[in-house]
């Protein structure tokens, strides 16, 4: 009892206040960075999405189908699925939403890869960086994804840009982890061969370690693409355009039908993107 009352006497630490203040401070102090990112980057993303929407749907579908045929080693499975799936989305009037979602996933994944691979390389090269990064990666992956939406809105307002930001945080860890792991797993004999012939650190990395690690890194990239797709749907809550929106509005109005149709479209996009990335790294 005594113990309990003692704990009760300690006032609650105002952690959430501190974080609020920190976010406010960051928002106002770095607005000179955030605002241009929001404007310029937002414009760029809209430009990409507009560009893709300019192209007639049938052309894109054909490109995807032909690509699927070749990327799977001249098999018809994925090609047929893509044809039927994409025609279904088009038929349901969700084509422009699909393009928006694809643009978001594409850009978020590219940024994740551009950031993730160098960080993974640094981790593999330095015990200290690894020790620091591992708990950060754990945090990034286990924190409920919705939580990222709040500072994202504070920094970047609403729309595509905060969606990409939240997706970056949520989806980058697999690429980082797999890159780190893949480079650490390169066999001693490969390293010795590289060293014995007098490679510099960069030569060893680019001529031996990264080529050896490629398959595993690609598996991480595949995970990143899938995670950013799932995040992009959540991001519709903060105004990111795309297939998440009809899901959200169906949820708010308790309409099972439209919700299911939009959900199915997301599944179709997910399967196509997954199989594409998988088959690329299996090569």
């Amino acid at each position: 009892m005594g113990c309990r009352s003692m704990f009760d006497q300690i006032p609650q630490f105002p952690i959430s206040d501190w974080i609020d203040r920190a976010v406010n401070w960051i928002t106002s102090t770095f607005s000179f960075i955030f605002n241009p990112i929001r404007n310029e980057f937002g414009d760029f993303m809209s430009w990409v999405a507009d560009l893709l929407e300019q192209i007639p749907a049938i052309v894109i579908i054909l490109i995807v189908v032909v690509g699927a045929f070749f990327v799977t080693g001249r098999k018809f499975g994925l090609a047929t699925f893509s044809l039927i799936g994409l025609l279904f989305v088009y038929n349901q009037g969700l084509w422009s939403e699909l393009i928006d979602t694809f643009t978001l996933v594409l850009i978020a994944s590219l940024l994740s890869i551009i950031i993730g691979i160098p960080v993974g390389i640094l981790m593999s090269k330095s015990r200290i960086v690894e020790t620091i990064m591992l708990p950060i990666l754990d945090l990034m992956q286990t924190m409920p994804a919705f939580v990222y939406l709040i500072p994202a809105v504070a920094f970047f307002s609403i729309g595509m840009v905060p969606g990409v930001f939240a997706s970056l945080i949520f989806a980058t860890p697999p690429t980082v982890r797999f890159t780190n792991l893949a480079i650490r797993q390169v066999s001693t004999e490969m390293i010795e061969a590289a060293e014995a012939f007098g490679s510099t650190g960069f030569q060893r990395l680019f001529k031996v370690e990264l080529p050896m690690a490629k398959t595993t890194i690609m598996a991480g990239i595949n995970q990143t693409v899938m995670l950013s797709l799932s995040m992009v749907v959540i991001a519709s809550m903060i105004g990111a355009p795309g297939l998440g929106r009809p899901v959200l509005s169906a949820l708010q109005r308790a309409q099972a039908g439209p919700g299911f149709v939009a959900g199915l479209s997301i599944v179709i996009l997910a399967i196509i993107m997954d199989r594409f990335t998988q088959n690329i790294y299996k090569k």
Binding site: E189, M190, E195, A196, F197, M212
Partner: protein, 398 residues
């Protein structure tokens, strides 16, 4: 002249390195150091010199520290103490940049499991050492191709390592090491992963290559037979220390201690030597293609007084002496059948060596080793004597 001088080279793994080194300097053994400090002695004050153009074999069982020692020489493992001097430069203390230069220009390594890059073709693997040096593309490709031709793989340049057999992969490993034209080749159990027949071929080929190239080679093995076959000198290792250095003859006749003696005994007892073990690859002339002029030219090139004649499927036809060949040329005889001597001494692959000794005593020409009439190898007097010396050396010490 010594190319490499290794002095007091030691490696301690684990904690208490300083204390362990002091104990080693007091002459303590590996076990005693482990007990006192908990540290493992990888290599204990190894000292030896390797001469220009010799094959220096370092032999020991697994755990004897031989693989660590070879890695201390090119500093894939950092030495705890001691020096490795190549051309007057101490590798053990030089900075990273100099170390890289020495590795690029003077030392090349061949690995037990080949160490080939699976994502590179044979040519791209071979060119690696030249590529990291930044040698212009045309030149490095030319050198790599030359190295591949040297090991007989000129036709495989666009294959990937996993498309080749183990023996061929190790030829690539050798070609990659030779492409740099290093002064010293480090070969770490280079043939241990190969099956016995291929292994013997590779040993013969290394000896052949060595006669042309005159490289300095440090060769690690756990196989006494291989050590005796290849080594100009052999260093025997046990528990991280070198227990004896000597020519094969010296090691066999005067084992420095019980360990060496047991080693020598074990190896030879397990092996009853037969023709196959001591035969060499023969120089031959193909009767379907060549005449006396080619035969004589070949004999002149190889410094032989006679040569074995086979047909296109390597069936043994007979023996042609240099005299008979010149006589044929004078009389303008083109067909070798008219001048060769078909009555040659032959034995099967499994003929015991003792019996071969009697045969060769009465024979003026090398003995042909045949299997179903096909010529497999030849035995010359020298190789029998060498093998016998090995056996009697053991008998003396039993």
């Amino acid at each position: 002249m010594s190319v490499i001088e290794v002095k007091n080279l030691s490696k301690i793994f684990g904690k208490n390195v300083k204390q362990s080194i002091e104990l080693l300097d007091e002459g303590k053994k590996k076990e005693e150091v482990l007990k006192a400090t908990g540290a493992t002695v990888g290599v204990n004050r190894a000292t030896f010199n390797v001469k220009q153009g010799e094959i220096f074999v370092i032999m020991g069982l697994s755990g004897s520290g031989k693989s660590t020692l070879i890695r201390l020489i090119n500093r894939l493992i950092e030495p705890t103490e001691g020096s490795v001097t190549i051309d007057g430069e101490d590798l053990a203390t030089m900075n990273k940049e100099n170390l890289r230069r020495v590795r690029r220009e003077k030392l090349s390594m061949v690995f037990q499991k080949f160490g080939l890059f699976p994502f590179r073709t044979i040519l791209e693997n071979t060119v690696y050492g030249l590529e990291v040096q930044g040698i212009p593309k045309q030149e490095r490709l030319k050198k790599a191709k030359e190295a591949l031709n040297l090991v007989g793989l000129g036709d495989y340049i666009d294959q990937y390592p996993d498309q080749l057999s183990g023996g061929m992969q190790q030829r690539v490993g050798l070609a990659r090491a030779l492409a740099n034209d290093p002064e010293v080749l480090l070969m770490d159990e280079a043939f241990s992963a190969l099956d016995p027949l291929i292994k013997k071929d590779m040993q013969d080929e290394l000896i052949d290559l060595q006669q042309k190239m005159k490289k300095t080679i440090i060769f690690i093995t756990h196989d006494l037979d291989e050590a005796l076959r290849l080594g100009d000198r052999i260093a025997l290792m046990r528990d991280g220390s070198i227990v004896q250095i000597g020519t094969p003859e010296e090691i066999l006749v005067n084992p420095a201690n019980d360990y060496v003696e047991r080693f020598v005994q074990d190896v030879d007892r397990s092996k009853v030597l037969v023709a196959e073990n001591i035969m060499r690859r023969p120089e031959t002339i193909n009767i379907d293609k060549h005449g006396p002029r080619v035969a004589l030219e070949r004999m002149r090139e190889e410094g032989l007084s006679g040569i074995y004649i086979v047909d296109s499927s390597r069936n043994l036809k007979g023996y042609l002496t240099a005299d008979a060949a010149s006589a044929a040329i004078k009389q303008d005889i083109r067909d070798l059948n008219q001048v060769l001597n078909p009555n040659v001494p032959t034995v099967g692959l499994d003929k015991p060596m003792q019996e071969i000794f009697d045969l060769i005593h009465d024979s003026q020409i090398p003995i042909a080793v045949v299997e179903q009439k096909k010529l497999k190898g030849i035995i010359i007097r020298g190789s029998v004597l060498a093998a016998l010396a090995r056996e009697s050396g053991v008998q003396i010490n039993v």
